[in-house]
């Protein structure tokens, strides 16, 4: 094994891996490159692989001539609300399903699991009708509410709670702690790593959700970032630099979130897919 990992061949394959990775992510680099160019330079031949000179004029234009700041705000509000409520609801539900004994628990769990087998996309029409009837289209609630029931979080929390030693909660309860106290004082702190991983991956998913916000929000000021940026493309004339500046601005939050919380994201993916 040692000869395999330190042989020159292994080093070449590692160098090629990094090279392949750079090629793979090149389109993102190319977008950043274009976004920093003055418009005439974007169609220059031969194309320039670094912006010379770099300029922020397209960013300036987008920030001042579109509602992108407003869309950021909308995305932040709805994402925070969805993630916090999903975690809270899932924690409580999973605790009941894991730790409280009541009749029909197993049937209820199977019912919940079966409900989650229903693809989100096939329920869009009745969901839209419902939210319109509740006068919630073009409101934050319209985006948030249907996203609050999340399959994965409940199942994951239940799996982790099932593995908690019984003695812990028993001891706390003998000292007079109620179920809510046991949940938030013992179960939550002991499963903090999972909560963090879930929070990060849920944030990325919710922030990036396109289909539902696109359907339920059709006025420009209520759009989220992923929906809003599809509105900025000018119908006449080409503005590659401007389009790429928009794309880069829209990409920043989740990219930063990933770069900062790389390990949590990896954990999040691993636990959401059952590999712990």
């Amino acid at each position: 094994m040692k000869t395999l990992t330190s042989s020159p061949l292994a080093w070449v394959s590692r160098a090629l891996t990094i090279l392949l990775g750079c090629v793979w992510i090149f389109p993102l680099y190319w977008a950043i490159n274009t976004s920093l160019m003055a418009e005439p330079n974007t169609v220059m031949r031969p194309p320039s692989f670094i912006p010379r000179p770099p300029t922020l004029e397209e960013f300036d234009f987008i920030i001042n001539h579109s509602q992108i700041i407003r869309w950021y705000f909308n995305s932040v509000v709805t994402t925070l609300a969805v993630v916090i409520f999903v975690l809270l609801l899932s924690l409580m539900g999973a605790y009941a399903l894991s730790q409280v004994r009541f009749r029909g628990k197993k049937a209820l769990y199977i019912f919940i699991l079966a409900g989650f087998m229903i693809p989100y996309a096939t329920n869009v029409i009745p969901l839209y009708m419902l939210m319109v009837k509740l006068k919630m289209s073009n409101t934050y609630w319209g985006i948030i509410l249907p996203q609050l029931v999340n399959p994965i979080a409940v199942v994951i929390y239940k799996q982790f709670f099932d593995q908690m030693p019984l003695e812990m909660s028993d001891a706390a309860k003998m000292d007079g702690a109620g179920e809510f106290r046991v949940l938030f004082r013992i179960f939550v702190p002991l499963n903090l790593a999972i909560t963090w991983a879930l929070a990060i991956i849920l944030s990325i998913w919710t922030w990036n959700n396109f289909f539902w916000p696109y359907i339920i929000e059709n006025t420009t000021p209520m759009m989220t970032i992923p929906v809003g940026i599809t509105q900025t493309q000018s119908s006449y004339g080409v503005h590659f630099g401007r389009d790429m500046a928009t794309a880069v601005l829209a990409a920043i939050p989740t990219v930063v979130l990933y770069v900062v919380f790389q390990r949590r994201v990896a954990q999040g993916v691993a636990i959401t897919s059952g590999i712990k």
């Binding site: 993102l28 409580m92 329920n123 609050l148």
Partner: protein, 303 residues
């Protein structure tokens, strides 16, 4: 270990702890109620409603009358639906297995890294965290006909998303580029979970060469992850909408119109809520049947 058992044994009087556990079933109500109310409102109710709608001629406001199975009679004979279904099948074929295999390949490369492992993983994963509309804007530029860098490098003049033949493969490729990172992370987690001793034992037993180790150790031990990735992929790709909507808008000449896009157009553009619901039901049944078959055939353990 034995020490811990001694300590915890003290309060764990079994009779007592069972009494505490069974203690008060009513406490489940405040814990579960918020979740269940939302579950009923946003999962169960819409599911029942979409079934009912599929038997009506409702508009997109939900107003309409019962027309029996007429929508179903219509969908069976609807050429546009079958064409959309075929396009979706084509997209599924172009994405599910390639996305899994490319994810596996990248994961192999990542786990062989030493110092720059985090970097390699980030390079393959980063595109996954981008919003879909950012991904499509980037690729519309990279694959632009006259000024796109790809056509420039390969001295081509292809209009990738507006020509019938390359439109769907190009859309599938963009999808793989966007989503493969998730599969990479799953495979990396799966690969690192395989104990090193297995490989050492196998090489002691004379299994030389990478292929044999892969065939008899890596592949079977990784199968739970691989099969899970395949199932998740299939469910996700049947529901293709965003990338097609943003890259080709179903064109050219509806050549990339997929089932969900057809549903969207029927329901939201043409105001046919009832027929849109019928298309939703068809897609739902297709997803249900194919994933059950897949789970059986692949013997998925994780689900």
């Amino acid at each position: 270990m034995s020490h811990a058992v001694e300590i915890t044994d003290v309060p764990a009087d079994t009779r007592r702890s069972r009494k505490l556990r069974t203690g008060n079933p009513a406490v489940a109500i405040p814990l579960l109620a918020p979740f269940l109310v939302l579950f009923l409102a946003f999962i169960v109710y819409p599911t029942v409603r979409v079934i009912m709608l599929s038997f009506t001629d409702a508009d997109i406001a939900g107003v309409g009358g019962w027309i029996g199975a007429r929508n179903y009679a219509r969908i069976v004979r609807d050429k546009d639906f079958w064409l959309a279904l075929w396009h979706t099948v084509y997209f599924v074929l172009l994405t599910v297995v390639p996305n899994t295999l490319i994810g596996l390949l990248f994961a192999f490369l990542v786990v062989r890294m030493k110092r720059f492992r985090g970097l390699a993983q980030a390079l393959f994963f980063l595109s996954y965290v981008l919003p879909v509309s950012v991904v499509t804007q980037i690729w519309l530029w990279v694959l632009e006909k006259n000024y796109g860098i790809i056509n420039y490098i390969f001295t081509l003049n292809v209009s990738w998303f507006r020509t019938a033949v390359p439109a769907m493969p190009a859309t599938a490729f963009v999808t793989v580029w966007w989503t493969v990172g998730f599969n990479v992370l799953m495979f990396v987690a799966g690969l690192t979970a395989i104990p090193r001793e297995y490989y050492e034992a196998a090489s002691l037993d004379g299994a030389r060469g990478g292929f044999k180790l892969f065939r008899f150790i890596t592949w079977p031990l990784l199968w739970p992850v691989t099969s899970l990735v395949l199932v998740l992929q299939l469910i996700a790709q049947w529901q293709i909408f965003n990338q097609v909507y943003l890259l080709t808008f179903g064109g050219p000449f509806n050549r990339t119109r997929v089932v969900l896009l057809y549903m969207y157009q029927q329901a939201f553009n043409q105001q046919h809520g009832g027929y849109g619901a019928t298309i939703s039901m068809a897609l739902f049944l297709i997803i249900l049947v194919t994933s059950i078959v897949q789970i059986r055939v692949l013997r998925v353990r994780a689900l």
